[in-house]
């Protein structure tokens, strides 16, 4: 029953959002053209969107393969911002087309801001391997409960000054 209520809410919430493509195109009449990818899709659900540092979080990953596969392998990867509890890899084995598979993960978040869980999906089909990568964002509040929306930026990034990002050349 709990799931019924939750999923009813998810359904309504999604209807309200309309699963609108979140890319805001400056030209509203133009449709966004994506690069091709391996024929696998993923959705995710995050329990407790009000997560704070050092709290555990449950995330449900739902995969759906668009072709028959001989094996479907999921690999999770994070940095020190997040501690995954349990296995980081899951093999689903042979899957017919249009099959949905669920992987539940538990994690403890160590840093405020937007933390990503990288999900690599590998499909084996007729001895050919194809992969697709996803990133699941987790927005972690600070311990004082304030919403932290800052991006945890790459440490090797150089800050822009006056519209220029000056990177060092090597003299040869």
């Amino acid at each position: 029953m709990l799931y019924e209520n939750i999923f009813t809410r998810i359904f309504i919430f999604s209807l309200l959002l309309g699963c609108v493509n979140v890319h805001a195109s400056p030209d509203m009449n133009y449709h966004i053209q994506y690069k091709p990818h391996a024929p696998i899709d993923m959705t995710f659900e995050i329990e407790n969107e009000n997560i704070e540092i050092n709290q555990s979080i449950k995330i449900k990953l739902i995969f759906k393969n668009r072709i028959d596969v001989d094996d479907l392998i999921i690999n999770l990867q994070t940095n020190s911002d997040l501690q995954l509890l349990g296995d980081k890899q899951q093999n689903f084995g042979m899957q017919p087309v249009n099959q949905s598979n669920i992987m539940n993960i538990n994690a403890i978040i160590k840093k405020q801001g937007i933390v990503y869980i990288n999900v690599l999906v590998t499909m084996l089909n007729d001895n050919q391997q194809q992969s697709r990568s996803f990133a699941v964002p987790v927005n972690v509040k600070s311990t004082d409960g304030l919403q932290a929306t800052n991006l945890n930026r790459n440490i090797n990034e150089i800050k822009a000054i006056n519209g220029i990002i000056s990177m060092p050349a090597i003299k040869r």
């Binding site: 019924e4 939750i6 998810i10 359904f11 919430f13 209807l15 309309g18 493509n21 805001a24 030209d27 509203m28 009449n29 133009y30 966004i32 053209q33 994506y34 690069k35 091709p36 990818h37 024929p39 993923m42 959705t43 995710f44 659900e45 995050i46 329990e47 407790n48 969107e49 009000n50 739902i62 759906k64 668009r66 690999n75 990867q77 995954l84 349990g86 689903f92 087309v97 249009n98 949905s100 598979n101 669920i102 539940n104 194809q130 992969s131 697709r132 990568s133 996803f134 699941v136 964002p137 991006l151 090797n156 990034e157 150089i158 220029i164 990002i165 990177m167 060092p168 050349a169 040869r172």
Partner: protein, 582 residues
């Protein structure tokens, strides 16, 4: 348990909802990793039928049309069907759509298209009837019936774009030679020659599509803007040539200058272009590479060389310093994209284009300014390229960059009626999407000179995704397949005959069709319109083109609407005719 929220990644609405609802039965295990399998019902597509009536003074015609909102797991975007009609004079036209069977309520919506542009739209909330009244001039028109509850993005389904070049993006300063402006405090009575070579680390792919960090090579930075900076100001500007070499006639006896190489290609003659690589997470600031300061004496300097390093650490198996090479690798793929066109149209004028890349650009969807770009894409204005290490980096995936540049080219010089969205080479998709993506894939092979499309990704960029563009054995081959489209276009281009391919026409006839009749087609842009016009232009090769088409399960094309397509339905769906004529 607190409340859940859900986010979709590249999945249309109903597919998202369907998965969520089916997930209700899954385990709510407290263990850290659990798995379960959800059986997906086969009958997830819904067919709804309507009577379509077009009425104007002295005329009223009604035709049935069934629309299948395909959600069969192949591709939730679905395959559309259309009504087409012609007017010989200006009329006030009433289009009425009345549901006869299927989904109830259906809430049909109507849009009328002319040459790919939406000219009328009606999307009221009437439950089963929709009426559109509009004035139309003489001409050919297409009606699309859809239900925006079914297909995400459908309200943005169309395409009203100014195909004229943006005046602000065309370089008007017709100065093909380097600008030589002397700055205060940096002058001299005599000059010397100052030059060098600019290179960047190129990381190739392994055969499994991963990046091969053991075979990094230095490659020339081609046609990039180079500046001599003196006392904080630009003293001289030039470009590297195709070998990465640059040269200034610079004042002698000045001190503390340095060389700046911009991730930018800029020219005004004979071809006009302005391509730059910027950081979408830092207000679209431009990437540049700066050399160390040096003094210029009264002797020539020919070895002021600059190199952009990848930042990769073999010891750490990670990027451990600034990824200077990345913007220049992207710029080089843009060079290849542009060169293929300039080789056949030397005076072409490209509208300015920014390619947005950041080490924070990840496959999560959200704010572009935060790097949540979803995937590498073109949005009608800019290109966005992934860069998040261990997730998906595309700066060395030249086919990905050229594919997206191909969308830019199609948008600015040809016409794309594509509805956009997710796609794979085995998917059954809308004719417009199939053509656009198939062209993008084919162009990536054409411009790069390599028919093997490679896309590296994952932990340490050690995984990947690949497509053999020249492979004619397409899963779900047909007019609804991007694989079929890419195979046909590439075979028209290439000089390597295989299977049914005995054509070697090069890029020029493809370019001429795309920028000519295909751009102005009365139909929607698809393999039908493209091939019809190509056969008109290459009548001597008509039978060879037919053989290529037949090899992809497409009936011989004789018209722009695909009326000749009589037998090849997508999978089990009945989608023929694609255009119902009234």
């Amino acid at each position: 348990m607190d409340r859940f929220f859900m986010q979709c990644i590249y999945m249309p609405c109903m597919l998202c909802y369907f998965l969520v609802l089916n997930g209700c039965g899954s385990s709510d295990s407290a263990t850290s990793v659990t798995t379960s399998t959800v059986t997906v019902a086969d009958n997830t597509s819904t067919t709804t039928c309507f009577d379509i009536t077009i009425a104007y003074t002295g005329s009223s015609k009604t035709s049935p049309l069934c629309v299948t909102n395909e959600n069969n797991g192949i591709n939730g975007l679905g395959v559309y069907r259309f009504i087409r009609f012609s007017l010989v004079s200006s009329q006030s036209v009433t289009v009425t759509v009345n549901r006869t069977s299927g989904l109830n309520p259906a809430d049909p919506d109507i849009q009328i298209l002319s040459k790919g542009n939406r000219i009328a739209l009606s999307q009221s909330f009437a439950s089963n009837i929709e009426t559109l009244i509009t004035s139309l001039n003489a001409g050919d028109y297409i009606i699309q019936i859809y239900d925006d509850n079914y297909v995400a993005d459908n309200l943005k389904l169309n395409v009203v774009r100014n195909k004229q070049l943006d005046a602000t993006s065309t370089i008007t300063d017709d100065q093909p030679k380097p600008i030589q402006t002397l700055a205060s405090g940096c002058t001299s009575a005599s000059n010397i020659i100052l030059g060098g070579k600019v290179t960047y680390d190129r990381i190739p792919h392994k055969t499994n599509n991963a990046l091969d960090y053991n075979n990094i090579s230095a490659q020339p930075v081609r046609l990039a803007v180079v500046e001599l900076i003196c006392e904080g100001s630009v003293l001289l500007t030039t470009n590297t040539d195709v070998n990465g070499d640059y040269s200034f006639t610079a004042p002698s006896n000045i001190s503390n200058v340095f060389i700046r190489v911009k991730a930018k290609m800029l020219a005004t003659s004979p071809a006009t272009y302005d391509f730059s690589v910027v950081d979408n997470t830092q207000s679209q600031s431009l990437y540049v590479m700066d050399g160390t300061a040096f003094n210029i004496f009264a002797v020539d300097i020919n070895n002021e060389n600059l190199h952009a390093a990848s930042g990769w650490s073999a010891v750490n198996s990670a990027y451990s310093s600034t990824r200077v090479a990345a913007p220049f690798a992207i710029l080089d793929s843009v060079y290849l994209s542009m060169k293929a066109i300039v080789d056949i149209d030397s005076t072409i004028s490209f509208p300015a284009l920014r390619i947005n890349w950041s080490v924070n650009n990840t496959t999560s969807s959200g704010s572009n300014a935060a790097g949540q770009i979803g995937t590498s894409h073109y949005n009608g204005v800019d290109i966005y390229i992934l860069g998040a290490e261990n997730n998906d980096t595309d700066e060395f995936d030249d086919h990905v960059i050229i594919h997206e540049w191909g969308h830019y080219f199609e948008d600015k010089f040809s016409r794309s009626d594509s509805i956009g969205g997710p796609h794979s080479t085995g998917d059954i998709i809308d004719i417009r999407l199939a053509f656009g993506e198939g062209f993008g894939n084919a162009y990536s092979a054409i411009a790069s000179g390599n028919p093997i499309y490679r896309d590296s990704l994952g932990l340490q960029q050690a995984s990947g995704f690949g497509i053999d563009i020249d492979n004619n054995n397409c899963l779900n081959a047909g007019w609804y397949s991007e694989c079929s489209v890419q195979s046909i276009i590439y075979d028209i281009f290439d000089s390597s005959d295989d299977g049914s391919d005995s054509l070697s026409l090069g890029l020029l006839p493809i370019y001429n069709i795309l920028t000519g009749n295909h751009k102005n087609t009365e139909s929607l842009t698809s393999i039908f319109s493209f091939i019809k016009y190509l056969k008109d232009a290459e009548s001597a090769n008509s039978s060879v083109i037919d053989a290529l088409i037949s090899a992809q399960n497409i009936d011989v094309i004789t018209d722009i609407y695909g009326d000749s397509e009589l037998t090849n339905n997508p999978g089990t769906l009945d989608q023929l005719p694609i255009f119902t004529s009234m």
